[in-house]
C-alpha cells in the first residue's frame, strides 16, 4: 500500500466510524418501533434478588401486605407502584385491568398519596389489585430503588424479581415484554 492510498483510507476512517454508529442507532430505533427494544426496561439492583423487606399498612378497605405475603400468594405476580396524581398511572390502568382479567395477581402500592385521593382514583379508574398498600412516606419505594411512578416489578415462582418496568404499561409493552416473560415464568 503506498502513502497516498494509506492517506485516503485514513481520511475515510471517520466516515466509516460514523456509518457504523448510525447503523447501530438505526437498528435500535427500528427495534424500538417493533417493540423488541425498550429503554424503559430499566436494569435494577433488584433483578435476580428477592423482594426487599417491607410491611405496609393497607388502603381501606384492603388489608396491607408485606413482602412475605406477595411470595406466599400466587406466583408469578406483579408489584405495581402507582399514585393518583400521576398521568401515566391513569393511562396504564386499562392495561392493568386487562392483566387482572387474565388472572395475573397484581399487588398495588400507592406511592406518596392520601387515602382519599387513592380511593377516588381506584373508584374512577378501576381496581385491578389483589391488595392495595400505602407507602405514604416513600421509604419502601427507596428500598425498591423506585425511579418514578408507575413502576412494575415481576416476581417469579421462587420470589425473585425478574423484571423492572419503569413507566406506564401499554398493550404493546405487555405483548412484547411482559406476556412472554410471564408465560416463561408460569
Amino acid at each position: 500500500m503506498d502513502a497516498t492510498t494509506r492517506r485516503r483510507l485514513l481520511m475515510a476512517a471517520p466516515l466509516g466510524i460514523a456509518a457504523v454508529g448510525s447503523g447501530l442507532f438505526w437498528t435500535l430505533l427500528a427495534r424500538m418501533q417493533q417493540g423488541t427494544y425498550d429503554p424503559h426496561a430499566l436494569k435494577s439492583m433488584l433483578i435476580g434478588k428477592p423482594l426487599p423487606t417491607f410491611s405496609l399498612p393497607g388502603q381501606p378497605p384492603s388489608a396491607g401486605f408485606a413482602n412475605t405475603d406477595v411470595t406466599a400468594g400466587k406466583l408469578p405476580a406483579l408489584v405495581n407502584f402507582f399514585a393518583s396524581w400521576c398521568v401515566p398511572c391513569i393511562e396504564e390502568s386499562p392495561t392493568l385491568m386487562a392483566l387482572q382479567a387474565k388472572g395475573v395477581p397484581i399487588w398495588g402500592i400507592a406511592y406518596k398519596d392520601s387515602v382519599a385521593a387513592t380511593t377516588r382514583f381506584l373508584n374512577t379508574r378501576g381496581n385491578p389489585y389483589l391488595r392495595v398498600a400505602r407507602d405514604a412516606d416513600g421509604r419502601t419505594a427507596i428500598n425498591f430503588g423506585l425511579y418514578g411512578v408507575p413502576e412494575t416489578y415481576v416476581v417469579d415462582r421462587t420470589g425473585i424479581v425478574r423484571l423492572r418496568y419503569a413507566g406506564g404499561l401499554s398493550e404493546d409493552s405487555v405483548r412484547n415484554t411482559l406476556a412472554p416473560l410471564l408465560a416463561k415464568l408460569a
Partner: protein, 652 residues
C-alpha cells in the same frame, strides 16, 4: 392570528433557507458575483423570519393563548411572566424552534461580521449554514410544529414542569444551545474549506473567534446545568455522568481541542486537516447530543418524550449532515498537504499532545455513554456508572494538566524541555508543597493530588505572563510597563487556564464533602460535620402557584451562630409534583447544604451536606469563559469586524 403569523414566518424561513442552501454555493462554484452577493441577504432574511416566528410563540405564551398546543401544555396564567416566556423553550417543539432560531442567528452573524472574508468563502460558509438550517427547519415545520392549534382550547394551561420553574434552568437552554449551535460556524467554515480544497493561515484566524465564542457559551451552559442539578435536585452532587450531561461534555472537549488547534493553523500552517476534522466532529457531537436525547433511544431524566417517527426523521437529518460532511472530508482531505514542520518538543508538539489527550477523554466518555446502547443491541443489559468514568478519565487528566502549564512556555517550532521546566520550577515547588501539606493534614490522596494539580494549573497559567514581563530580571517598573502592554489574548489564555485550576480545586474539595440523612423533630439538634444543626420549627407558606413547607434550621459551631437556613418543599397542586428548594449557605470555601424531605409522624427527613469548596467548581467554569471572552475582544483576533466597531468596542 398571531400563531398563524408565526407559522407563516416559519414556512418563510424554510423557503429562504432552501435558497440560502443552493444559490451561494452554486454562485461560488460558477464564480458568479451576483449569486454570491445574495448570501448575506438571504442569511439575514432567514434570521428576521425566525425572530418573527419565535416572537409570535413568545407572544402566544405571554397572552395565555391556550388554543396553541405548545402553550396549553407548558404554560399557565398563574405563572409569572418570566416563566411563561421561558416555558416556550422548556419543551420539545419549542426548544427545537429555539435551536433553529439560534442557527439562523449564526448565519446572520456571519453575514454581518464576515464582511472581511473573501466573497467565495463567505458565500460557501453561509450556504453550508443554509443547508443545515433548511433540514432542521423542515423538520420543525412538518414533524414538530409548535404553532399547532387545539380546539376547544382549555381554560387553563397545564403549566411548566415545576422543576424548570427556576431562574437558573430557565436561561440554561438558550446559553447551552448558543454553545451547541455556535459550533455550526466552524463546521460551516470547515465544509467550505473542503469545498474550496484549501485551508490556510487565514482560515485558522477566521475560525478561531467563532470557535471561541461558541466555546464560552458552551462552558457557561455546562456549568449552569451542573449548578442547577446541585441546588435543585437536592442530591448534593454536581456531575452525575448522566447521558445528557455527557452529551454536552463531548463537544466541549473536541471544541477545546479545536480552539487550540486553530492557533497552530494560524501561526504555523500545519495540522490543517486535523482542524477541519475537529470542526466537523465538534458540531457532529453537538448535533448528536441535542438530538439523540430526542430520539427516545437513551433513557435519561432529562430526555423529552417523542414519537418514534420523529426519531427516524432526526436520525436521517443527522446522517445527512454528519455523513455528508465526513464523505466530503474523505474525498477532499487527502489532497490537503501539511506545510509547517515541527519537532515533537515544541509549542505545536504540546498542542498536539493536548489534542490527543482531549480527544482520548472524549473517546472514553463517548464509549461509556454509548456502551449500554451497544450492549442493548446484543441483548445484554448493563449500565455504565461513575466508577468507570473516574477510572478512565482521571488517568488521562494527569498528563493533560501537566502539559497545560508546560505548553504555553515552550517556543514554537523547536524547543528544549529542560529550560521550559526550569522556568516553571517555582510553580512546581509551590504545587508540591501544597500537595504535601494537604496530604499531611487530610490523609486523602485524591484530594491532595487535586489541590496540587490546581495550584500547578493556576500558577503555571501565569508563568508565560511572568516570563513575558521578565519579572525580577528587569526593574519592577519596566515589568509593569510590559505587563500593561501585553495583548488581551495572552491574559485571556492565562485566565482560562487558571479557571481550569479553580474548577479542579473545587472537584478536589468536593471529594472531601460529607453528607448524612436524618429524621428530626422540631427542637432537635443534630451534630454533624463539626456543626450543630438545630431544627427550630416547621411551617407552611403559600406561594403563587404552590404551597411550601418550610423548615427553619439554626446552624452553629461551638455555640456561635453560623447561619439560619430555610430549606423547603414546594408542592404544585396543578402539576401534582413536589420540588425541593434546598437551602445553601456558602462562604465560598464551603457550602452548608440542607434539603428537606417528606414529613411523617411529626418528624421530617433532612439531608445535610458540608460541601467543601463546592462553588469553585462553577466559579472555575465562569473564569474559563471570562478568559475566552477576554481573548475574544482582543483586536488582533477580531477578523472581519469593521475597523470602526473595533475602535469603539475595545478599551484602549
Amino acid at each position: 392570528m398571531i400563531p398563524e403569523l408565526g407559522h407563516f414566518a416559519l414556512a418563510l424561513a424554510v423557503a429562504i433557507a432552501a435558497a440560502q442552501a443552493v444559490l451561494p454555493i452554486v454562485g461560488a462554484r460558477a464564480n458568479d458575483p451576483r449569486l454570491m452577493a445574495a448570501a448575506p441577504a438571504l442569511a439575514l432574511g432567514q434570521m428576521i423570519a425566525m425572530l418573527a416566528s419565535y416572537g409570535c410563540l413568545i407572544w402566544s405564551a405571554v397572552v395565555n393563548d391556550f388554543s396553541v398546543v405548545d402553550v396549553a401544555e407548558n404554560s399557565s396564567s398563574a405563572e409569572p411572566l418570566f416563566y411563561r416566556i421561558t416555558g416556550t423553550w422548556g419543551n420539545h417543539d419549542g426548544s427545537i424552534l429555539l435551536w433553529c432560531l439560534i442557527l439562523s442567528l449564526c448565519g446572520g452573524a456571519v453575514a454581518l461580521f464576515g464582511r472581511g472574508l473573501p466573497s467565495a468563502l463567505r458565500a460557501r460558509v453561509i450556504g453550508v449554514l443554509g443547508i443545515v438550517s433548511a433540514g432542521f427547519l423542515l423538520f420543525t415545520l412538518t414533524a414538530s410544529n409548535p404553532f399547532a392549534r387545539l380546539w376547544p382550547p382549555p381554560i387553563q394551561g397545564a403549566a411548566i414542569n415545576p422543576l424548570l420553574q427556576d431562574p437558573g434552568l430557565a436561561i440554561h437552554p438558550p446559553i447551552l444551545y448558543a454553545g451547541y449551535v455556535g459550533f455550526s460556524i466552524p463546521f460551516a467554515f470547515a465544509v467550505a474549506a473542503l469545498l474550496e480544497g484549501r485551508v490556510d493561515a487565514a482560515w485558522g484566524r477566521w475560525v478561531r473567534p467563532w470557535t471561541l465564542a461558541a466555546w464560552c457559551f458552551l462552558t457557561c451552559g455546562i456549568a449552569l446545568g451542573s449548578w442547577w442539578a446541585y441546588y435543585e435536585l437536592g442530591w448534593g452532587g454536581y456531575w452525575f455522568w448522566d447521558p445528557v450531561e455527557n452529551a454536552s461534555l463531548l463537544p466541549w472537549l473536541t471544541g477545546t481541542a479545536l480552539l487550540h488547534c486553530a492557533i497552530v493553523v494560524e501561526k504555523r500552517e500545519t495540522l490543517k486537516t486535523w482542524s477541519v476534522l475537529l470542526a466537523i466532529a465538534t458540531f457532529s457531537l453537538s448535533l448528536t447530543g441535542t438530538f439523540m436525547v430526542r430520539s427516545g433511544i437513551l433513557n435519561s431524566v432529562h430526555s423529552f418524550a417523542v414519537a418514534p417517527t420523529q426519531g427516524v426523521f432526526i436520525l436521517g437529518l443527522l446522517a445527512l449532515t454528519i455523513g455528508g460532511s465526513l464523505a466530503l472530508f474523505a474525498f477532499r482531505a487527502p489532497a490537503m498537504a501539511a506545510t509547517g514542520v515541527f519537532a515533537p518538543i515544541s509549542r505545536e508538539g504540546a498542542l498536539v499532545l493536548n489534542n490527543v489527550l482531549l480527544c482520548s477523554v472524549c473517546a472514553v466518555v463517548f464509549t461509556g455513554t454509548a456502551y449500554p446502547l451497544l450492549a442493548a443491541l446484543f441483548h445484554s443489559d448493563l449500565s455504565v456508572g461513575p466508577p468507570y468514568f473516574h477510572l478512565t478519565v482521571v488517568p488521562l487528566l494527569v498528563p493533560l494538566f501537566l502539559a497545560m502549564s508546560v505548553g504555553p512556555v515552550l517556543p514554537w517550532k523547536r524547543a528544549d524541555l529542560l529550560p521550559a521546566l526550569l522556568r516553571l520550577w517555582w510553580a512546581g515547588a509551590i504545587a508540591a508543597l501544597i500537595g504535601i501539606a494537604a496530604e499531611a493534614g487530610l490523609h486523602r490522596a485524591f484530594a491532595s493530588a487535586g489541590f496540587a494539580a490546581a495550584a500547578w494549573l493556576i500558577l503555571g497559567a501565569f508563568a508565560e505572563l511572568v516570563e513575558r514581563i521578565r519579572l525580577f530580571r528587569i526593574p519592577l517598573a519596566n515589568s509593569w510597563a510590559r505587563l500593561v502592554a501585553q495583548p488581551l489574548s495572552v491574559w485571556g489564555a492565562a485566565i482560562a487556564h487558571a479557571g481550569m485550576g479553580v474548577t479542579v480545586a473545587g472537584i478536589a474539595g468536593m471529594s472531601l464533602a460529607a453528607s448524612t440523612v436524618v429524621a428530626a423533630r422540631p427542637g432537635q439538634t443534630i451534630h454533624f460535620g463539626g456543626y450543630d444543626w438545630k431544627l427550630v420549627g416547621l411551617h407552611q407558606v403559600p406561594g403563587p402557584d404552590y404551597t411550601a413547607q418550610v423548615a427553619d434550621l439554626r446552624i452553629s459551631r461551638d455555640g456561635a451562630l453560623v447561619a439560619l437556613v430555610h430549606p423547603s418543599l414546594h408542592t404544585f397542586p396543578q402539576q401534582h409534583q413536589t420540588v425541593t428548594d434546598t437551602a445553601i449557605q456558602t462562604n465560598v470555601l464551603r457550602d452548608l447544604y440542607v434539603a428537606l424531605g417528606g414529613e411523617q409522624d411529626g418528624q421530617v427527613v433532612l439531608r445535610l451536606h458540608v460541601n467543601t469548596m463546592a462553588p469553585f467548581v462553577w466559579l472555575g467554569a465562569l473564569v474559563m469563559a471570562a478568559g475566552g471572552a477576554l481573548s475574544l475582544v482582543d483586536r488582533r483576533l477580531r477578523v472581519g469586524a469593521p475597523a470602526k466597531r473595533g475602535a469603539v468596542g475595545v478599551p484602549a
